[in-house]
């Protein structure tokens, strides 16, 4: 789960990471009240989970009440690369002497947290990494040892931060690491981390990704999920306990297991089709889950044909067939379905479907055959 900037800053503040003071607001009125309280100049910042906010006009410095009102009015409701701004963060403007970059990343390859520090802050760090990799100091931390003061010093000296801020930068890294561990984050990134003319080190931005699997231990963090920013089909699927990812094609897909689901999308694409979604019905799917999944798939108006690709292990094909038959009774789909049932109780499942004689349902015995058939049907439906 990705946090908004201000949620990240509030999380930082709980772990002693210095951040500018600020307030979130969802209306122009609240934004102006926050600006009046914080004082001028202050920064009005769009809260969306996407980069390039500044370029899109989503970050403005207000010198007075009129400007605060004007900018909040312009930014609230603004579209930034497809995301609507519902919230702004009003923050005391900071004076900047230097801009650095700091992050703690869950490095799955090294199986250890990776701490990075650079004096080239305020720009796209992937570009810095490509063009000037030596400008980023990197250090893996043994998770059983934890972050030590010497780690902070090594990184600060290696990155070449100003001598007088070696200690505060090291302390900042230690606190970011502590937040990373305590909140069970997979990413904590500060870009820029600034040094003020008064030589204070502060986090001027915050990018935090939390591990969804650990949210049961962090109920306060779990409540930060911004459901309004989620795709409606994805939200509906999540409420029903299904793993669904919206794509932009017109062939609805249901398969069992993450790997087979991904493979099914690829085989459909290979056959010339465009998948509308990823949907993993999971292991051991019962009939109700299948019915529910059909509803989610068909709630996407772009879907012209649907492919079921099931290889039953724990999942029983007769349960899948039962679910599909129930779905047809409840939802009455108008688009064609191609069904491939194989594996555990495959024969029973196929017999049930044959007996039910559902309208516009085609059965195929192989994955490749099923993909070819659904691509053909989707093309026909699109022309019709």
């Amino acid at each position: 789960m990705d946090l908004l900037e201000y949620q990240g800053k509030q999380l930082f503040a709980r772990h002693g990471v210095p951040v500018p003071s600020g307030k979130p607001a969802r209306t122009v009125e609240d934004a102006v009240a926050a600006a009046e309280e914080i004082g001028y100049p202050c920064v009005v910042k769009a809260q969306v989970q996407i980069g390039g906010r500044g370029k899109a006009g989503g970050i403005k410095v207000a010198q007075n009440r009129e400007e605060a009102e004007q900018y909040a009015g312009a930014i609230l409701g603004m579209d930034i690369r497809g995301l609507t701004v519902y919230e702004v963060w009003i923050e005391a403007a900071s004076e900047i002497a230097s801009e650095y970059y700091a992050s703690v990343v869950f490095d799955r390859s090294a199986k250890a947290p990776l701490v990075m520090l650079s004096t080239k802050g305020g720009m796209d760090i992937e570009a810095v990494a490509d063009e000037d990799p030596d400008a980023i100091a990197r250090l893996h931390v043994d998770p059983l040892l934890g972050f030590q003061d010497f780690h902070g010093r090594r990184l600060a000296f290696e990155a070449g931060v100003d001598d007088d801020v070696v200690r505060p930068v090291g302390a900042m890294l230690a606190r970011l690491y502590a937040a990373f561990v305590a909140e069970e984050a997979t990413l904590v990134e500060v870009n820029p981390m600034i040094v003020t003319p008064q030589r204070e080190v502060k986090a001027l931005d915050a990018k935090v990704t939390l591990d969804d699997n650990a949210l049961f231990r962090h109920p306060d963090n779990a409540e930060l999920r911004d459901e309004s920013a989620e795709d409606p089909q994805e939200r509906m699927a999540k409420e029903r306990g299904l793993t669904y990812v919206k794509l932009d094609g017109n062939i609805g897909i249901l398969a069992n297991g993450a790997g087979l689901s991904m493979s099914t999308l690829d085989v459909v694409a290979e056959a010339g089709g465009a998948p509308a979604n990823f949907l993993d019905a999971g292991g051991g799917s019962k009939a109700e889950a299948i019915t529910s999944a059909v509803e989610v798939i068909l709630s996407d108006p772009k879907v012209r044909a649907v492919l079921f690709n099931i290889f039953g292990g724990i999942t029983r094909c007769d349960e899948v067939a039962k679910g599909l038959i129930e779905a047809f009774a409840q939802v009455k789909p108008t688009v064609p379905f191609v069904v491939r049932l194989d594996g555990t109780n495959g024969e029973e499942g196929r017999a049930m479907l044959a007996q039910a004689n559902l309208p516009n349902v085609y059965t195929e015995s192989t994955m490749d055959g099923a993909a070819a058939k659904v691509v053909e049907l989707a093309a026909q439906e699109t022309q019709a």
Partner: protein, 293 residues
Amino acid sequence: MSILVDTNTRLCTSGITGREGTFHTLRNRDYGTQVVGGVTPGKGGQDVDGVPVFNTFHEAVDKQGANTAMIFVPPRFAADSILEAEDAGIELIIAITEGIPAHDELRVYNIIKKNGRSRLIGPNCPGILSPGKASVGIIPASFFREGNVGVVSRSGTLTYQMGNELALSGFGNSSIVGIGGDPVPGTDFIDVLGLFQDDPETELIVMCGEIGGDAEERAADFIESSVTKPVVGYIAGFTAPPGKTMGHAGAIVSGSKGTAAAKAEALEARGVRVGRTPTEVAEIAMATLGSPA
């Protein structure tokens, strides 16, 4: 021969008294696996269809000589259960549980590596099947028979699909190893490729990868330097958009990293043939080994 599980396996299941734990443990026993016990704290002294239940892994090791653990407890208890099995000296720990917090996995991985006495397979994996010898986990064993193709995979159902394609072409398997779909697997492709390389029964290795991380890229380097047996690759997730978790916690393209195309290229650049569909993998296997015996 086979790898990791065989007739010497003495299995003990953590979470044996749960619905799934009971079901799959008994299925593994029906297949012929030696199931010597289960662990559920507080239920020691009971039995599950004749399988004795212990309060701790230490008791299961002392009294029954358990050497393999299968972890079936819910995510919040799983890290503790894995570490208990490791502390009890169990050599092979197979964690089926899906949804274990990433930081728990990091801690468990590093402790096991530091102590160096156990191997962890998974978490979030379907287990290991050595056809005709033993099955530990949830792989539907009836689809597979003994043979000379080793399979290692990050996915469960995709492995069954792949195994089925191979079976339809007449191939059997030495062992099928699911290493799991989480970001920090206890055992990586490289480890299993090394075991297959040393297993005399295995003549060809099928490696099923997917998007996310760089395990396939590292495996490609390892194959080039250390594997003389033919390897056929498959990568799932060519159509996956960046930034979306595709079912498995570890299956995510981050920025431009971890794409299926990059993985396939890395393998092909080192001479590993990569099938674009599961059917094509079976065709390449057939072309490589000739018609199966």
